[in-house]
Structures are given as C-alpha cells and as structure tokens.
Amino acid sequence: MKEQPGQIRIFRKKHYLGKYILITLVVAWFLVLTMLPVYGVIEGTFKNGWHIFITSLVTPASKHAFLLTFWITVGTIILNTVFGVILAIVLVKQKFKGKLLFEGFVDLPFAVSPVVAGFMFIVLFGPKGWIGNWFEMHQIKIVYAFPGMMIATLFVTLPFVAREVIPVLREFGLQQEEAAYILGASKWQTFWKVTVPSIKWGLAYGVTLTIARSIGEFGAVLVVSGSIINKTQTATLHIHQEFTDFNYAGAFSAAVVLAVSSFLILTMMQFVYKRKRS
C-alpha cells in the first residue's frame, strides 16, 4: 500500500469518533456480506467430516465435470490469449473506419446477460441457425456439445486479455519497437524479444481473470450445453445439478473446491497485479 500523506488530516481530533464508527461499519458490512457466506459454506461442508467431502467429490459425474471445466479453461486460455493480444494490437496501432464501434463490441460481453449470450449461440449455432445449419449438414454438433460450451466461454471471457493489454501496449509506445528494427530485428523477433516481455504482466493479469471467469461461468454454458450428466456438465453445472437434486453434500463439496480455487486465483491475481504496477 502506498503511504497516504496526511491521511486523516481533514478529520483531525474532534472527528476521531466518526472515523472509528465509519471504519467499524464498513468492516462489519464487508465481513457479513462477503466473508460470512464463505465461512458458512466451509463450516457446513466439513461439519460432517472429511469423509463425505471426499466421497462426494470422487463420483464419476463429479470427476467428469471438473475435467471438462479444466479442458474448457485450457482452450479458452489459448484462444483468448492469442486473439486478445491480436485485438489489442489492432486497437492500439491501427486506424480504420468504425474503430470506436468495433471497440464497443469488444466490451459487449461484459454487459450481456450470460443467459442471453447462451441463447444467442443456440440461435446461431443451433441446427437451424445461420452457421449451425452448415455444421449440421456435416454432422458436427456444436450446441449441446463441447464446441458450443467452448464458444460460450470464449464469449464471456473475451474482453479480459484485450482490456488488460491495451493500456500497457499504449503506454509502451512505438519507440522501443523502432529501436529494435533499426538494430536489425525483424517484426517477429521484435514482437517476441521486445513487445511480449514488456506487456507480460498485463497479459498475465488478463489471463488470470480469464481463468477465473471460465472456471466460474454458469449461465451461458448452462443454456448452450443442456447440462447432460457425464457429457456436457462442467463443475458449476454439476453443483447446480446436485443442488436441484437435493444432494447438498455433493453440491457443497464441489462448491468448496471451486471457492478455494477462486481464492487461489485471487491471490495469484493480486500478485500479478502488484508486479504489473511496479
């Protein structure tokens, strides 16, 4: 934390009381709103012992769900990192008509409801959709199958890498790249030896956010996948399934695993964020 010079200067002396009341209120609100539920679910999961926790996690459906989440996340990282960097380069370095509108489209996934997003993909990639029609003819299933879930996850996580890389790239400017060209480096060499090392922390931050969101995505994937057990069920869908089946032990155990992963990702995010800023 940066030291704030004169941190409490305006509320000196007579306002000490107000200050402590405000701190107390804020901390209490924060603890009750966000921390108490976390504590509750961990307590609720383990009050019956580790045994139930483990057994409800190693069911075939649960294992399959976590594995599917893993593969979707891996695919999302690869595709959205590559295209996120390309998008950032195009938006920072190129000028073309309609660029502002294009930039607006890049932001859109943050504003669209996941359920609506999933619905859009059903319409486009479903058997009667503009694109789905073609795949249907070639016997390739997109909706209610892995490709559809992948596309839905790509959609909801698309802005993260681009949004994080754009400001870094803008600040990085052109001169270092020009210096590399003059020293004889080709565009490809310059990209890997000069550009990438300079944007790496921004990129890493964007990738971490992408991971967090792909693991946690629910609505869009639910709509696109149809949530078929052992087939198109990711970890979040699995939790939902267990919950609606009143199998609370299974739902809680999987939820705790995801909550712990979220916490680890958050820690990673904070670490990367600090590196990015220094």
Binding site: M1, I8, R9, I86, V116, M120, G219, M269
Partner: protein, 297 residues
C-alpha cells in the same frame, strides 16, 4: 549524365513499383491481424447478436411485443429492475464508504481486506448462490431464526438483493478507489482554509470529484444485476410472480423449449446492455472533459 538517362529512368520505375510492393507487404501483416480480429469479433459477438435479433423480428413486431407484455414477463422485468435499483443505491453508499475507509484510514488487517474485496469477482456465481442458501436458507440456523420473525430471505426478494449485492460489491469500490487515491488533498485543504466545514468539504468538493467514478461503478453494477443468473437462480429459485427475474424467466422458457417466449425479454435485456455501454462511454467522455477543463484552468 546524358547517356545514363535511360538507365536511370528504368531504375526509377523499378523503385516506384517496388515501393508499392513494399507498401503492400508492410501493410499485409496489419491487414491479416485486422482480418483475424474482425473474424473473431464477428463470429463470437456480432453474428450471434444479429442472429438473435433477426430471429426476434422474424414473426414481426407484434408477435415480439406480445411476448414481452405477458403478465409473467412484465412481472419478472419489473422485479429485475426494482431489485437492481435497490442494490445500486445500497452499493453506491457502501462501496464509496469502503473505498474511502481503505484509502484514507489505517487499521489492522487493512491490506488483507483490500485484497479480499475482489473475492466476489473470483467466486463462481453458482458457488455464491450455494453459500447464500447455506447461510440464509430456511434450514440454516440464521435463516430459521429470521423465519421465526416472519422474515424470508432465501426464495424471496431479499435473497435476490443480497445475491446482487454480493456479486457486484467490488464494482463501486474498485472504480472509486483509484480516483480517491489520486485526488489531491490540497483541494480539501484549500477548502478548509476558506472556512468550509467537513460536511461542506465532502458534499461540495469530494463528492463532485468522485461522481464520474461512482456513476461508472453504479452503471457496471446495474448492468451486472440485470443480467445476473447463477446466484439468483439458486438463492431465489424460479417462482413466477415472486422471485422470477428476467434472466431466470428466459432460462425457464428455454428449458421448456419455448424459444419464442424467451426472445422478447432477451431483446429487452440486450437493448439494456447496449444502452448501458453507451452510457458508460458518455460518462467517460464527460469525466475526461471535466478533467481537461479543470487542468487547463
């Protein structure tokens, strides 16, 4: 020089041609990158939206409208907006206060709290729902205790608002925090030397400066709230005319293979997303102008 003239001309022609070639080849990688971006955004964002809108208007305006104005759809829309507005009001106050406390004051474990503010972003919404049901559900200790006094949280409206507060908690804090951090305290000190009270300083100096950030945070929270699905589906369930918000309504229609019924509200939500995006950009432009004039003065 004379005998050289012809050769020189040829050389020049070649260079000119080559320069065109070079221009093209220097542009080709740019063109490839641009085409790739257009392809990606096109297939992932633009085409799906176009497809949805095209399908919505397939049967004409009248049939789309009749999908929107069914009592159940209207109720869920109303519920969505009311809960979102209540959440935004609470979130603006608590978020600004949290940002203020974290930036201006020192207290034990402040840094840990500051890191954990982002946790709601990292936790999957389904997990949020599960955690809230566990805490406030009728079977939980807390929920049962409240139930004795007739207060329902889970599977009722308060549950929706709590879920929305949880998932959008970081928005206002994280937009206000950096502005507060960069805010020059000399402005406040100047106001103090001019005899302004703490109350006056806050409402006439601090708040106007923070306003663009607060509005941005509010718009982001609102946008998240009208689209939120996972946590609400779990804590509030899918009870028509009670806890069914728009996104849950759409999901319900899809679940019962009624795509037509889902189209109406989907278009409405999509329209809201567009409006909020435009609004966010306007806030940004406005605050930049604001800053610009302040600086040039």
């Amino acid at each position: 020089m004379e005998p050289m003239a012809y050769g020189q001309r040829q050389w020049k022609n070649w260079v000119m041609k080559n320069r065109l070639l070079r221009y093209f080849s220097s542009q080709i990688d740019n063109l490839i990158l641009r085409s790739l971006s257009f392809f990606y955004i096109g297939i992932l964002i633009i085409l799906p939206i176009a497809a949805l809108i095209a399908k919505a208007f397939e049967g004409g305006m009248a049939s789309l409208w009749s999908n929107i104005v069914t009592p159940q759809a209207i109720y869920s829309l109303k519920l969505t907006f009311i809960t979102a507005v209540v959440m935004v009001i609470v979130n603006v106050v608590t978020g600004t206060a949290t940002a203020w406390v974290v930036v201006r004051y020192n207290f034990p474990l402040k840094n840990i709290m500051n890191s954990l503010i982002d946790l709601p972003f990292a936790i999957p919404t389904v997990v949020t729902g599960i955690m809230l049901v566990n805490l406030y559900g009728p079977n939980s200790i807390f929920g049962a205790w409240l139930g004795k006094y007739g207060i329902e949280i889970a599977f009722a409206r308060p549950g929706i608002i709590i879920a929305l507060l949880y998932v959008s908690f970081p928005f206002v804090v994280r937009t206000v925090q950096p502005v507060l951090q960069e805010m020059e305290q000399d402005m406040e000190e100047a106001a103090k030397t001019l005899g302004a009270s703490s109350f006056n300083i806050f409402f006439r100096i601090v708040l106007p400066t923070l306003l663009p950030a607060i509005l941005t945070g509010a718009a982001l929270s609102f946008s998240r709230a009208i689209g939120e699905f996972g946590s609400i589906a779990i804590i509030a369930g899918n009870i028509p005319f009670k806890t069914q918000v728009a996104s849950v309504y759409i999901y319900g229609e899809l679940e019962s293979y009624n795509q037509q019924g889902a189209l109406g509200l989907s278009v409405v939500l999509l329209l809201c997303s567009f409006i909020i995006l435009v609004l966010l950009n306007l806030i940004q432009i406005w605050s930049r102008k604001h800053e610009g004039t302040a600086r040039s003065n």
